[in-house]
Amino acid sequence: MINSLCLIVTKPLGAELSALGVRAAWACHQGGFATKLVYAEEGVDCLAAGEGYQSSMLADFIAADGEVFAVREDLARRGLDEAALPQGVAVVAAAQLAELCEECDTVNHF
């Protein structure tokens, strides 16, 4: 049975899939599943928005003790300042992703 999930958002803000990822993460977390929400590739762009639907969902997720991660190399590649990320987002090296995934029963990309 699945008890834990790693959901990886790889699409930027304008792609519906990125919203689907954060919505799925919220649903899983509220459903009692151990949920890791990771922003990678172009998905890290979603973290820069600051306002709007996705940002508010992310804030709620973090406030509810949801775990959120962003991949350092992808942030750097896209010129995003780690210090400007929403509070509660943990920055991880790409090499650490495997460890995060190992801790979860299923891994799914959005």
């Binding site: 699945i2 689907l20 649903a27 459903g31 299923t106």
Partner: protein, 132 residues
Amino acid sequence: MPKTLTILLMSGSAENEDAEFATRLAQAAVKKGHKVQMYLFGNAVNISKKEFPIQGDLHIQQRLVEHIEPTKCFGRVAELTKAGADVSTCHTNEHARGIESREYVEGVKWGDVGGTFAKYLMTTDVLLSVGH
């Protein structure tokens, strides 16, 4: 031993091969005695609705018709629910596409990610997400 497969489908008909793959996979799993739950998310909600075929001449080249028809999933979705698969949609994604009030393919259920998808996960052995 039968297991429960949940497919999170995020592509609709025609845009790529995801929906065709997912529905054919679901059919095979049901036929083998497994339980299948399918959550239609994003563009996949467009395969939840009954087809309203046009009457008369299609004005489409026959070779294009032959190319398109096998990729349509509406019939397969109806067969899946008839065979016992649990298929639900994200009604908010239907709303975003202006199709919320249209009739569902037989057996497809109204759903939401918080209630339906999370509920599916509670009895899931394997989650497969299919999207582009």
